[in-house]
């Protein structure tokens, strides 16, 4: 047994998380996570290594990702290289699974490279944790890991798409002018709303067939429920959020609905 095998997963027990910027919400770990953290603190290195390999969330030995973050951060603060090297790969493996299912060919030009870069960038957060460069970013991950990782992933995706200079939007704007009249005659907007309601599940599958702007307009109109446009300039509308005219927004919806209708065979 080497010296590290007797180590405990100890970290500062009452290490508080940073202040929340959401009004009325503290960045506190959920009760069940606190309980898992406390349990992990009393266990030795070997036990924690074994528990980190458990993949099934329903297994009582399963360590939630929030707890893995908690333990790795504790190890980082103590400069406990053995603990970091033992636990971080398991957390990265979980992240890799999420990335594999979420970042697909149609999302970015080089999905494989992009997934790898995100994974490495995420690992770097632990190297920078507790330094003058960053003291609290990982607090989010100790609270709600999957939602925090989603933010990280989407923020990086957004930056990547900007870098890749996706020009779908501009191309589409030009194409729309030619088809405006025809589209409007084929499906009235009220009917489009009814079709959207009928196709909730199919939308999820078909959403990837839509262009970025069609998706954007559709989501703001039908998920968030914003009006296409308004005479009240203070009001948030699809037109305002997408930086296009109400008429263009409507045309995007009609085109999207046409695609979705074909998908369903309506």
């Amino acid at each position: 047994m080497n010296s590290s095998s007797t180590k405990k997963g100890r970290g500062p027990k009452a290490r508080p998380l940073s202040e929340n910027i959401n009004p009325g919400m503290a960045y506190t770990r959920p009760g069940e996570i606190e309980a898992k953290n406390l349990e992990a603190l009393s266990q030795d290195f070997q036990t924690l290594c074994e528990r980190a390999t458990v993949k099934e969330p329903s297994d009582p030995a399963y360590l939630p990702s929030e707890t893995l973050v908690f333990l790795i951060r504790g190890a980082r603060r103590r400069n406990d290289g053995d603990m970091m090297s033992a636990l971080l790969p398991h957390l990265l493996k979980r992240c890799e699974c999420i990335l594999n299912s979420k970042i697909q060919e149609w999302c970015v030009p080089n999905p494989e490279e992009f997934r790898e870069e995100i994974l490495a960038q995420f690992a770097m957060l632990f190297a920078e944790d507790s330094t003058s460069k960053d003291k609290h970013k990982l607090d989010f991950y100790e609270t709600r890991f999957n939602l925090a990782f989603r933010a990280f992933r989407i923020d990086n995706l957004r930056k990547e798409l900007k870098r890749a200079k996706h020009t779908d939007q501009l191309v589409e704007e030009n194409e729309l002018d030619e088809e405006d009249e025809k589209s409007q005659q084929e499906i009235p907007l009220t009917q489009a709303t009814q079709i959207i309601d009928l196709l909730q599940e199919e939308i999820k599958k078909a959403i990837q067939l839509l262009s970025p702007m069609e998706r954007r307009v559709l989501i703001f109109r039908f998920h968030f429920g914003y009006q296409l446009e308004s005479t009240n300039s203070d009001k948030l509308t699809v037109s305002k959020l997408c930086n296009i005219s109400g008429r263009t927004a409507q045309n995007h919806i009609l085109r999207a609905v046409k695609k979705l209708s074909r998908f369903k065979g309506v």
């Binding site: 202040e19 929340n20 910027i21 959401n22 009004p23 919400m25 993949k55 099934e56 969330p57 980082r76 400069n79 290289g81 970091m84 090297s85 971080l88 790969p89 990265l92 493996k93 979980r94 992240c95 890799e96 699974c97 999420i98 594999n100 299912s101 979420k102 997934r115 790898e116 994974l119 490495a120 995420f122 690992a123 770097m124 632990f126 190297a127 920078e128 330094t131 460069k133 970013k137 989010f140 999957n146 939602l147 925090a148 989603r150 933010a151 992933r153 989407i154 923020d155 995706l157 957004r158 939308i203 999820k204 959403i207 998706r215 989501i219 998920h223 968030f224 429920g225 948030l236 959020l241």
Partner: protein, 220 residues
């Protein structure tokens, strides 16, 4: 204690994280709340909100990674490479932390040179009293002798004859070598530099002292 939200600027990243964990899927109420609080990030927030909704429509459970998929392979090359980059970044970060925790040299205390206030005559007198000559005293003044090679007896004699506290004399001798500056001229095109220090024995033997003086000084 919560600070006032208006009293500080949140980073975009912090705002996006907060937005993401506020609700599994954002709705208009949440989006408007954040846009109202962070109008400077309106465009980012609306993009981000739209991406979250789109993300929720893509196959793959948000609640937990696919356990089945996780079981299929051991650590992939991607994980291994991510770990490698982590280790490199950690090493750099730890080196920085170490460097920040060590006080920079030469910035601390300026050691007083007790020889500075002595006149030429006083230096000659001092040389006589310690059974040495002005060459050796010059080396002592300019800290050209490695301080670890002085005998305690010599340091006590020097302090006594200089009428200075032993701690001051010892601190002076232990300070980094010094080149006297001031109004002196030098023929070289370059400023004089601090040379290698000598041991006390080497300094005694290379200062033109008599055999008897050398014996006395090295016996202290």
């Amino acid at each position: 204690m919560r600070k006032s939200h208006t009293a500080r600027m949140e980073s975009l990243e912090d705002v996006l994280y907060a937005f993401s964990i506020a609700k599994p899927i954002p709705d208009a109420e949440l989006l408007e709340e954040f846009i109202r609080r962070y109008p400077e990030y309106t465009e980012y927030l609306s993009d981000f909100a739209m991406e979250i909704v789109k993300d929720s429509m893509i196959a793959g459970d948000l609640a937990s990674p696919d356990a089945e998929q996780a079981r299929k392979f051991q650590f992939s090359p991607s994980v291994t490479r991510a770990m490698s980059r982590f280790q490199n970044a950690l090493y750099i970060s730890q080196q920085k932390e170490k460097a920040e925790s060590v006080p920079p040299p030469n910035r601390t205390v300026i050691i007083e040179n007790p020889f500075e206030k002595l006149t030429r005559q006083e230096i000659r007198d001092l040389s006589t009293r310690i059974h040495a000559n002005t060459t050796l005293v010059g080396k002592l003044r300019d800290r050209q002798i490695a301080h670890t090679t002085f005998s305690p007896g010599f340091q006590q004699l020097l302090a006594k004859e200089m009428k200075a506290p032993l701690s001051l004399v010892a601190a002076h001798l232990a300070a980094p070598p010094q080149v006297r500056s001031g109004s002196q001229f030098y023929k070289s095109e370059h400023k004089p530099e601090v040379g290698n220090t000598q041991t006390f024995e080497e300094a005694v033997k290379s200062s033109g002292l008599t055999e008897e003086q050398q014996r006395f000084l090295l016996s202290l």
